[in-house]
């Protein structure tokens, strides 16, 4: 497939090999009014691939809320843009690079990061932060996972981490957060979702609309090679089989040094005032950038391939148009002023060549040394591709009974050992060994890097004066296990948790971006999951005031017919009006009061009275259940978005007032993990070692549920005794229950009581040992 001479005659079989169905092929012929040549077929096949056309997801994506008073640019451009005040905007977006990262972990991850960074600076924004949301198969053997499989997963993880680190570190953008999770379903199909954030002046935002007939089209950046041909169509838009390793040549190769030059040169070129439009060449390369810019501008574009800088000789028009070589951009500039732009790129030592011009008539016309290689109406190619209302079918309900659910331990059981095991599990254990490989502090804006706060917090320097007023907070979340059990509720949790993380850092959630990782859209059950997840996202984003401004859909995440868990990953962006008010998770002073905030129980002391079986069912989906008993079933915790909203308001108010010393939300592993992490962070934030003494409010639930349950809308704050009154009053005004559950103590004691007995009794040092080093020990095993 990689080499396809132009002379090849297009047959229905060749169209099918290109992934076009018979109907799609018929539509191609209808649009052209004739048979396509092989180059044209290639162009249609990439533009109409699932990855580029969203043909299976479009009808559902329409339901997502995309508007808000702070949204400057919603989905459809290179990135979403929101207003962050004082004439500044933030551009941000998340994208997947899953399949390439399995085939070639290092390069797959680098080009994933590189692609999303280009999306940001294409808008005229300077990238200031990257987050990575990663999912791998189990990295330890046991529970049906062989040592061979675990070792392979460790190698994939290692390659991906090195790739993410290499690209961001060299480019000079801090990688400040994200998550890493492990489930068996990701063994053959890891997820690599990269989110980038940039800042620009509101008046300096650039779009990808080719305007002005006769304006020159300029190609800049790396030379075009044969790498990545059909990356979008054959790698990203088909499931894996045993032959997938042969797709290695379809993986692109990243060069962060080149991208850094491209960044600086593009931002400088934009300052000349001559740039009309700009688009990066990512998926489907030259094809996609020319077609989309022309289509959005209501114009045509004509280019001559002989002028395109090429890395190797003898490339056919087919190969040049479909190459996914990285670090390339296409610009439309004002006619007559192209030299100004060419000079900037020359200064940075980059290729920049006028390869064509904007034309009337709406045609994408590709010439090769004067010979016509392709001629396609741009708008139908970009916008009138196939749209499918794929069949949807809810899979039959899981057959499970109370006997399959988690059986709680007897009352008064000492749970310390189980707790230590939970802290050492890959999902909960410290990710420091991974995040230390990322440059987290370059650009000197990182107020809270990985693990310091529930969200990554980046201060905003005024581009002119460098003065700092506000900060931005970003968090990603997506619990695939919960989405597998209930895609609608799981998706709602993803939004709620990401927003809660942002609010726990003190910032007000303002907008979201989503990366929707699913199996094959040709399976009705997968489409049901997708549709349910979209509904969940819609409800949650509406309720929490975080419109979706962009993102991407990644289908075909399956191998040998088995789908991954449906995994919508949500990135939420928030704004902190006063950059000096960042809330971090670490306890600070002995004697501080530990307060549990709970949005879902407006009346202090109110109890959740539900039958024990409901508790068992819910708890069976928890991290504790999975880690301690290997049970993954039941239902995710019920979600109460009103409660989430109240809690978030409360946290934002407390941060603004400066009345709490730390804040950390309750999530994976429940209250016990939240308390322990707040103790661990105290030491790493340079404070003296402190411990915690807590007594959880008695409920009609077993101790394990109280300690490790993962119901949302809760956070733990620590408060100086003198501020306690003010904090309780703020909570009351926000309709949030606030209960004093313990004290920060000197030394390293760590004790949790429940109903009069110590259910966890250990030392911070012991727990820290397990939590801090277990991932490193596992991964160093090779």
């Amino acid at each position: 497939m990689a080499t396809a001479p132009t002379e090849i005659k297009v047959t229905p079989e060749i169209a099918a090999e290109h992934g076009l169905t018979a109907q799609e092929f018929a539509r191609v012929k209808e649009i052209l009014g004739r048979e396509p040549n092989i180059t044209e077929l290639g162009i249609f096949s990439v533009m109409w691939s699932e990855h580029c056309s969203y043909k299976s997801s479009k009808v559902h994506l329409k339901r997502l809320p995309t508007r808000g008073k702070l949204v400057v640019q919603g989905p459809g451009e290179n990135a979403g843009v929101v207003d962050i005040g004082d004439g500044l905007v933030a551009a941000f977006k998340i994208e997947s690079h899953n399949h390439p990262s399995y085939v070639e972990p290092f390069q797959g991850a680098t080009t994933g990061v590189g692609g999303i960074l280009r999306d940001i600076f294409t808008m005229g924004a300077r990238p200031v932060a990257v987050l990575d949301s990663l999912r791998f198969g189990p990295i330890t053997a046991g529970n049906g996972v062989s040592e061979k499989e675990a070792a392979k997963n460790r190698r994939i993880l290692d390659g991906v981490i090195r790739g993410v680190a290499h690209y961001g570190n060299c480019f000079g953008v801090p990688t400040v957060g994200g998550e890493v999770a492990f489930e068996p379903c990701y063994s053959q199909n890891p997820l690599v979702n990269a989110l980038a954030l940039g800042i620009a002046k509101k008046d300096d935002i650039f779009l990808a609309k080719a305007k002005g007939i006769g304006n020159p089209v300029i190609y800049v950046g790396a030379k075009t090679g044969r790498d990545g041909i059909h990356g979008a169509s054959l790698l990203a838009s088909a499931e894996f089989t045993e032959e997938s390793q042969q797709k290695r040549p379809n993986v692109q190769v990243g060069d962060p040094f080149m991208e850094k030059l491209l960044l600086e040169a593009c931002l400088e070129a934009m300052q000349t005032g001559t740039v009309v439009a700009i688009q990066d060449m990512g998926a489907a390369g030259l094809t996609c950038s020319t077609t989309e810019m022309a289509s959005r501008g209501g114009t045509g574009i004509e280019i001559d391939l002989a002028k395109v800088p090429q890395r190797e000789s003898g490339m056919t028009p087919y190969e040049i148009m479909l190459s996914e070589s990285q670090e390339r951009m296409l610009l439309v500039v004002e006619d007559g002023r192209e030299q100004e732009v060419l000079d900037v790129f020359k200064k940075w030592g980059l290729d920049a060549v006028v390869v064509g011009e904007v034309t009337e008539g709406g045609l994408l016309r590709v010439r090769d040394r004067g010979k016509l290689a392709a001629e396609i109406p741009a708008h139908p190619l970009a916008e009138e591709g196939p749209v499918y209302q794929r069949p949807i079918a809810q899979p039959p309900a899981r057959k499970e009974t109370a006997a399959d659910w988690f059986q709680f331990s007897a009352e008064r059981t000492n749970l310390t050992d189980n707790f230590a095991k939970l802290l050492g599990s890959p999902a909960i254990a410290s990710k420091r060994w991974i995040t230390e490989q990322y440059d987290t502090s370059v650009r000197t804006n990182t107020l809270a890097g990985p693990g310091a706060s529930d969200a990554a917090v980046i201060r905003i320097k005024d581009p002119e004066t460098g003065k700092v007023k506000r900060a931005l907070a970003l968090a990603t979340d997506g619990n695939g296990r919960w989405c597998e059990l209930n895609p609608r509720v799981g998706a709602m949790h993803a939004v709620a948790e990401a927003a809660r993380n942002v609010a726990t850092s003190g910032a007000r959630p303002m907008a979201a971006t989503n990366c929707l990782n699913f199996g094959s859209p040709e399976k009705p059950a997968v489409m049901w999951q997708f549709s349910e997840a979209i509904d969940g996202l819609t409800i949650a984003c509406n309720e929490l005031g975080t419109p979706i401004t962009g993102g991407n859909v990644s289908f075909y995440n399956e191998t040998l017919g088995k789908s991954i868990y449906p995994t919508p990953v949500i990135g939420v962006l928030g704004i902190l009006e006063d950059a000096s008010r960042v809330l971090k998770i670490g306890f600070r002073e002995e004697g501080d009061v530990i307060v549990l905030l709970d949005g879902s129980t407006p009346l202090a002391g109110a109890q959740h009275a539900a039958p024990l079986q409901e508790r068992q069912r819910e708890f069976s989906s928890s991290e504790y259940s999975k880690t301690i008993r290997g049970i993954v079933t039941g239902e995710p915790p019920a979600i109460d978005l009103g409660a989430e909203k109240r809690l978030q308001e409360c946290l934002v108010s407390l941060a603004a007032a400066g009345s709490v010393r730390s804040a950390h939300d309750v999530s994976d592993g429940g209250i016990a993990v939240t308390l322990a992490e707040s103790c661990f962070a105290a030491a790493s934030q340079g404070a003296t070692q402190v411990g915690a003494n807590a007594s959880l409010p008695p409920e009609a639930s077993p101790a394990e549920y109280a300690l490790f349950g993962e119901r949302g809308a809760r956070a733990i704050v620590s408060v100086a005794p003198s501020s306690l009154g003010a904090v309780l009053e703020t909570a009351r005004q926000c309709g949030v229950a606030a209960q004093e559950i313990g004290q920060v103590i000197r030394g390293d004691g760590f004790r949790i009581e429940y109903k009069g007995s110590a259910v966890v009794d250990s030392s911070v040092a012991n727990l820290f040992e397990t939590w801090a080093h277990s991932l490193e020990r596992t991964l160093k095993a090779g």
Partner: protein
């Protein structure tokens, strides 16, 4: 008094150094393009961190041949103040302005975290405002920070008191636990014999505000200002 921050293609801490000097130290500073041989009458030159020229071949190996380095060498040899941070340190080594060489971190991975370095000498343009033995908490961010040199060179470094920063634990103990990258003799930063050129792997420009977790790096820039003020007085 004017600082100059050199911009190589691939420099990525240039803005941070610039910001530390202009916004925190509030001193005049300008960027100097790698193609330029004109140091714009700057009194002190900073070679910032990053991946100059992609760090292909070897860190700093290509940058040393850039036009600006001709002028920087001349400036340094005539007593001008030059500080290399991270990649800038690597470039100074490659350019022969400082002795020794850099190899991969002993763990073979990029490491970014706050480390502790002890100020070993205070009679340099970069440490005169610090106290001898003072422990600074400053971040590192590199994969090639494992400083090495032969025994004779190490002996000379020690004899001439050219080791100005050493990695230690938080209490100032010089041991393996405090050494993040395997550097010989826990060396984090050195100066030349004339004490006007220095390089260090940690990033002082990232530790100039308590909001960024540490302001310990400021003392290095303050020292440079002190030295420049002193030099100006001496010639006045």
């Amino acid at each position: 008094m004017k600082f100059g921050v050199v911009v190589f293609p691939g420099s990525n801490c240039d803005h941070d150094a610039f910001y530390a000097i202009s916004n925190i130290l509030k001193k005049p500073v300008e960027f100097i393009w790698h193609q330029s041989q004109d140091l714009a009458n700057c009194d002190a030159i900073i070679l910032p961190g990053g991946f100059a020229y992609g760090d292909y071949l070897r860190t700093g190996a290509i940058a040393r041949f850039s036009p600006v380095m001709k002028s920087v060498s001349k400036f340094a040899k005539s007593g001008g103040m030059v500080l290399g941070v991270c990649n800038g340190f690597q470039i100074l080594l490659e350019a022969g302005l400082l002795p020794g060489a850099m190899t991969r971190n002993s763990g073979l991975r990029f490491i970014c975290r706050h480390v502790h370095v002890r100020v070993e000498q205070t009679d340099t343009a970069f440490t005169n405002a610090a106290a001898k033995g003072q422990v600074l908490r400053i971040p590192i961010a590199h994969s090639d920070g494992n400083y090495t040199c032969d025994e004779a060179a190490l002996g000379e470094l020690e004899t001439n008191r050219q080791v100005i920063f050493r990695y230690t634990t938080s209490d100032g103990t010089e041991d393996a636990a405090g050494n993040p990258n395997g550097s010989i003799a826990n060396i984090a930063g050195i100066c030349n014999r004339e004490r006007n050129v220095a390089g260090l792997m940690p990033h002082p420009e990232r530790a100039v505000e308590s909001a960024l977790d540490s302001a310990d790096g400021l003392v290095i820039f303050r020292s440079m200002v002190e030295a420049l003020v002193g030099a100006a007085k001496a010639t006045a």
